[in-house]
Each structure stands twice: as structure tokens, then as C-alpha cells.
């Protein structure tokens, strides 16, 4: 097949399909409506983990789950219609930052798979909780 015909066919096909998915409601993205919903998503993926608290970020696209043992933290991110659940490693928790004035937590990325994210919270109690965990991980991390 000639390359030009192939290229035109591919472009037309992509535009047609993507346009149709968009027009049939495929661009709607979901949000975490409540902490219970975020908790259910987390427990579906990690049923053995004991959850301490769940905090949904402003806008509802993200949530942080503080886990009862080992100072663990999980990040829930609504990517379009589906949640991405990520258990932060100790090194990632140690690299987490908080911005008290903005009420924000800055999570490091995970290579090319997940970008660094800034999460803003109305309930700022989470900042001190995250800070405590971050400090303990920083001290535990080998220098």
C-alpha cells in the first residue's frame, strides 16, 4: 500500500473513531464523590490494608489514604473514568512535600508511569499526618 494512502486512511480513521467516542459521552471523567467511595476503591485493590483515614482532595480527582501500619500512604487518582491506585514506596513518601499555606501535598512521580501531583485539601489536618510519616521515612531511609 502506498504510504500516503495509508497515512490518510489512518488519520481519517483515528478522527472518526475518537470523534464518535467523544460524541457518545466518552469524555466524561469521574470524581470521588465521598471518602467512602474512595475507601471502597482502595479496599477493592488492597483488601488486606487497614485504613486509618481517607482524604479526598479539592476537585475530587484525587484522594490520599493513610494506612494504619508502617506509615504507608496510598494515592488514588481518577484518570478519566477509572481510578489508578498507587501505594507509595518508602522512598516516595520521604520525597513527599507539604505546602502549609496552600494546604497542599506534593507527591513525587513514579518514573514515566505517574507524574508528580499537587493535591489541595480543605481539611488541613492531613498535612501534619503526611508530614509525620514523611519525617519518619526520611529518618529511616539510608543516606
Amino acid at each position: 500500500m502506498e504510504l500516503v494512502i495509508l497515512a490518510i486512511g489512518v488519520v481519517v480513521g483515528v478522527v472518526l473513531v475518537v470523534g464518535l467516542v467523544h460524541m457518545t459521552g466518552g469524555s466524561k471523567s469521574k470524581r470521588f464523590a465521598s471518602t467512602d467511595q474512595a475507601l471502597a476503591v482502595f479496599q477493592n485493590r488492597f483488601p488486606d490494608k487497614i485504613v486509618e483515614t481517607v482524604h479526598v482532595a479539592i476537585g475530587g480527582r484525587d484522594a490520599l489514604v493513610l494506612i494504619a501500619n508502617k506509615d504507608a500512604i496510598a494515592h488514588l487518582h481518577m484518570m478519566g473514568a477509572n481510578p489508578v491506585v498507587r501505594l507509595l514506596t518508602d522512598a516516595e513518601i520521604a520525597r513527599t512535600k507539604t505546602m502549609i499555606n496552600e494546604g497542599a501535598v506534593v507527591l513525587p512521580g513514579d518514573g514515566l508511569a505517574v507524574s508528580a501531583t499537587v493535591l489541595q485539601f480543605e481539611d488541613r489536618t492531613i498535612l501534619s499526618d503526611v508530614n509525620r510519616r514523611m519525617m519518619r521515612k526520611t529518618m529511616a531511609e539510608p543516606q
Partner: protein, 318 residues
């Protein structure tokens, strides 16, 4: 007889099939809208665009790097012990043997991180529709897995014929990436890879992990003990055990390569541990801190002891 003088010019079936791919996806979009089943993964705009861009990238990668594999196979052709020619029987025989080759390639792709690094992107969508079929690798050539085709060449199948039947196999696998088709007629389900069997392969449910590697014939999975039946009470959840948070096709294509080399180059590891990060199954770690398939299945059975020993799940003892 010098076969090289009679080599037919086979069409590139995957390129010819593109208009049919587009029409089939359009039909599936409308079918799924009519079904309106809330548990179906359906379509999502950015996810679909990513899948299609991965498909385009795969075609481009084939045009750029396809000569590497073909060159190696042509080199091997000099050492063939027989020539099957290009008859209909030769094509059929080549298709079946190449399908067996595909089964083992696919099984290795799920059991060794080196190959999983290129194959992971095909599983990276949390949706399961015909566009997912086109979410193909850009880096397949670099894993060197084309060497699995060398035995076919040595026994007498010409590389052109092998490329042709490989294309047919890929085209076959397109239509099985759908939730719009339930279980099919029993004899078909027994012999062929079907949407139901392949939904299992794409699922992250513990019982379905590392199952149903078939390309066209599911008989290989039945023969080699990797077959698991889809169950109504355990509907497939698609994607990866550790899903990625990006629709960017470049990130999708290279994220696992990046992660794998980052792991293998961590300070303080032995050579053996570095090789482990490159070639052991996905989820392997030198300190056992990560989840591999065996651990996920064992944890599931611990939580659901009544399911122990069921297809795809281990016995309770482990």
C-alpha cells in the same frame, strides 16, 4: 529448485485491514451503547486515542525496524533443511506452527520482565474494546524475540510466508478484544481463542492472571496448562495490577523500560539481582517487597479458601 525465484508477493494484511478495523470499532461503539451494561468497561475518548496512537506507532516502528528481524530470518534461510514452498497446505501448516510460536512468545512476554517491558502497553488500558487490540508495542524488535521464528525458517518456511501468517494471526486477534460478544458456540470456544478467553487474559483478577496466552488456537493453553475459563461471578477487571496514570503514548510505550532499567541500576545490588530485575517475572524484587503473580494468587486464596485449587488458583498449602 530455487524457491527464491517463486516467492509470491503477499499483501501486508494488517495494513489492508485498517478500514475494517475502523468500521468494526464504529459498530462496537453503537453496540455497547445499546447494551448500556454498567459493568462493561466501554469506551473513553483519551484512552481510545492513546490506543490508536499506539497502533500508528507500531506500524511506524515496523516500517523503521522490521528489516532487522527479516534480515536475521533471511540469514537463517540459508541453513534450511527443507522447503515447504507456498502452497495452501504450506500456508496452513505455517499458520498453525507460527501460532504455537506465538503462544510461547506471549507466555514469555508475561513471565520475563525483559519482554513484558514491550508487551505491557497492550495491557495498559483499563478498558477492553476493539481499540485496545490496536494498542500495540513500539519496541518489540529490541527484545530480540523474533529469534523464536528461526526454527520455522530452519525447517523450511520462507520468512515472507512467516511474516504473512504472522499478519493473519494479528488480524484474527483484533475481533476478540470486545465485551460485545459473550460466550460462543461450545466447539468454537473449545478450539479457538474467543472474546471470552481473551477477556480472561486481559483481566487483573487473581484467578485470571497469567492465563490464556493463545493467539488463534486456545488448544495451546489447554495443552500447556494455562487455560482458565471466564466466570460470570468473577467478571474481568482490565488493566494492570499496578495501573499507570498517563494517556501519553510515549510514556505508555517506554514507562516499563524506564522502570526496569532504574531498578537494575539501583546502587548496592549484586549482578545476579540486577539480572533478576531484567529477566525475572514482573513483580519480582530482590528483597521480596513487591507483589508477583504467585503472591497475588496466594493472598487471594488465603482470603477465599473455598476457591483454593480452582483453575488459575493455587492450593491452600502455599
Amino acid at each position: 529448485m530455487n524457491l527464491d525465484q517463486f516467492i509470491p508477493i503477499y499483501p501486508d494484511v494488517t495494513q489492508i485491514a485498517i478500514p475494517f478495523f475502523v468500521i468494526a470499532i464504529v459498530v462496537e461503539i453503537f453496540l455497547l451503547r445499546r447494551l448500556r451494561h454498567e459493568k462493561l468497561a466501554g469506551f473513553e475518548t483519551r484512552d481510545t486515542l492513546t490506543s490508536l496512537m499506539m497502533g500508528v506507532g507500531n506500524v511506524v516502528a515496523g516500517l523503521l525496524f522490521g528489516f532487522v528481524a527479516f534480515g536475521v530470518l533471511m540469514l537463517a534461510w540459508q541453513f534450511r533443511v527443507y522447503e515447504f514452498g507456498f502452497s495452501v497446505w504450506a500456508i496452513m501448516l505455517c499458520f498453525i506452527i507460527d501460532d504455537l510460536r506465538y503462544y510461547w512468545y506471549h507466555r514469555i512476554a508475561h513471565r520475563s520482565r525483559w519482554v513484558w517491558a514491550e508487551h505491557i502497553n497492550h495491557h495498559s488500558s483499563q478498558h477492553y474494546n476493539l481499540s485496545t487490540a490496536l494498542r500495540q508495542s513500539w519496541t518489540g524488535t529490541f527484545t530480540g524475540m523474533f529469534i523464536l521464528r528461526i526454527p520455522l525458517v530452519l525447517i523450511g518456511f520462507h520468512p515472507v510466508l512467516i511474516a504473512f501468517v504472522g499478519g493473519l494471526n494479528l488480524v484474527y486477534q483484533f475481533w476478540i478484544h470486545t465485551e460485545a460478544i459473550g460466550k460462543m458456540w461450545r466447539p468454537v470456544e473449545l478450539i479457538f481463542n474467543t472474546p471470552s478467553h481473551h477477556r480472561v487474559h486481559h483481566a487483573t483478577n487473581a484467578r485470571y492472571l497469567d492465563a490464556n496466552y493463545a493467539g488463534t488456537l486456545i488448544v495451546w493453553d489447554r495443552m500447556f496448562g494455562s487455560f482458565v475459563e471466564e466466570r460470570d461471578e468473577d467478571m474481568p477487571r482490565y488493566g494492570l495490577v499496578k495501573n499507570i496514570g498517563t494517556f501519553n503514548p510515549v510514556r505508555v510505550a517506554f514507562h516499563e523500560w524506564w522502570a526496569m532499567f532504574a531498578d537494575a541500576s539501583r546502587p548496592g545490588l549484586t549482578i545476579r539481582q540486577r539480572l533478576g530485575y531484567l529477566f525475572m517475572p514482573p513483580g519480582w524484587s530482590h528483597d521480596g517487597s513487591r507483589e508477583d503473580t504467585a503472591k497475588i494468587k496466594a493472598d487471594y486464596v488465603r482470603r477465599h479458601p473455598d476457591q483454593a485449587g480452582q483453575p488459575g488458583l493455587p492450593d491452600l498449602k502455599s
